[in-house]
Symmetry: C2
Subunit: 332 residues, 2 copies
Amino acid sequence: MPELRKDPIVGRWVIVATERANRPVGHRVEPMAPAGLCPFCEGSEEKTPHEIISYRSRDSHPDLPGWRVRVVPNKYPALQVEGELNKRGEGVYDRMNGIGAHEVILETPCHEVSMANLPEDNIREVLWIYRDRLVDLKKDPRLVYGMIFKNVGEAAGASLEHTHSQLIVTPIVPVNVQEEMNGAEEFHRYRGRCIFCDILHQEMETGKRIVLDSPHFLAIAPYASRFPYETWILPKQHNSHYENASMNELDDLARVLKTVLKKLEICLEKPAYNYMIHTGPLNSPHLPHYHWHIEIIPRLTRTAGFEWGTGFYINHVPPEQAASQLAQTPTA
Amino acid sequence: MPELRKDPIVGRWVIVATERANRPVGHRVEPMAPAGLCPFCEGSEEKTPHEIISYRSRDSHPDLPGWRVRVVPNKYPALQVEGELNKRGEGVYDRMNGIGAHEVILETPCHEVSMANLPEDNIREVLWIYRDRLVDLKKDPRLVYGMIFKNVGEAAGASLEHTHSQLIVTPIVPVNVQEEMNGAEEFHRYRGRCIFCDILHQEMETGKRIVLDSPHFLAIAPYASRFPYETWILPKQHNSHYENASMNELDDLARVLKTVLKKLEICLEKPAYNYMIHTGPLNSPHLPHYHWHIEIIPRLTRTAGFEWGTGFYINHVPPEQAASQLAQTPTA
């Protein structure tokens, strides 16, 4: 059973998951599985745990070929669904059982390594299955936050190249999310507006940091980008929760995400990257101060001691330059 | 002139330093300079900016051979000393000029790549020169925080292998330091004690996570270690500021640091790692709630989307196991 432990000084939680020592990425990085041995390819369904949900042809069966998008439990889960939280103290420390969920979203049955190469319809189904999972997990009152993310390339922490995303569901609101919500709430209390909406207006007005402008989304290089070519995708209409996005929005997002990823791939020569969906907690109602969005961070540089110690980042590419370069990159 | 920009949501500051695009580590990592071409070796003094301070033989001269430990400005500084802060707004955003300091501490004139191989006396002088720099920089009222850190190995963000550390001085208290101080202050307000002192007592009592116990320091694998084999070195006597450490303490620390680094090198086969000195702000008096310490993080795994998005870390080596392994590693 993994354990959740809290740093008593800053309140940061850590998952101490001894089971994960067995997974392919251990102390030293192993080469990734080639197409023939890939457990995420069609025909290898028996190499993953039983599927949770899939979008598949009507005449096909779970855990067999015929799927287009498939969600399975992570074979080396950071958190597990079974059991009680059992919160307890140990002198100055706090801990609880590592209850939660850790799922893998297989985005295509073919051994494609780039999400940007998937057809728009395929990406649209990935975005829908994200939604379906969040909606389903809301039913479990022990689960509080669902983080959907993607690791591409070894430098971004990926251990398999077949394009996939992950969902980790935690029994508490993670510290980074809490801080983002606190900051946004403070602004809302003071000004009565959503800070993300204000950012959207200002960015659309100045136009200096726009990567892509679509009917429902704005992709920007954020003003205080931590990383070169960091890109955020924000819905233009205020909405705190990803799972409440409309059909029209997700259709548009499929195109926007594909285009932005393609631009990054062309501009940065297929960089390692992560993306994360920042969304409201599973157990909260619609929030007037919070605004879901996607953050994409190319992993071109390494975080060093200064960043770890201070939380300050050093970015040698001004976001205005990154945005203009990405905006001008043709994708057709 | 580098620029400091603030994320309006979470208040995180970023250094946008266009000058740094010219330094050896750019988009792609270049191979490190071998001994003959190393700008940090004795005899190559002209390859660095003019020295700020050095400990050297009496008959030698600044910027010439004869030094034992030498501090120079970083050739590709993240922040610069000259100028005014000029704080200003831009709609919803805040920024100021990138005023500060960025220095490199050359720890030995020989091309040694491991600090653990330096003689104890040498390390002692490195620790003293850290102190001398912090004390000197306190005199500039624009400078608020001094972060001393070390990057070893490409995976830890190092661009040169010759053993060295760095000092970046910022005009504001970095967010991570502020959070650590806030957490410690809250505990102090509630219990009237320093949380770090409480941790020291509990760790000495249980003994489960001790890596090394010396007269003045305790090295532990922290209870909520973010990374496998993360190790903290804490002074046993309460003290908020590194630069106020006593002679006896720094003598002892030289031995402790050498031993702990040696243990990590042996146990983990010369891992990439960072260390950071967490200390009180330059402009604050002695603090009853804060306690300076060193955090060492081996870079064995890559941080991925989940960690970036949530601030949660997944650690597959329980700190109790890491501590027992490190404690048992002989260094003689």
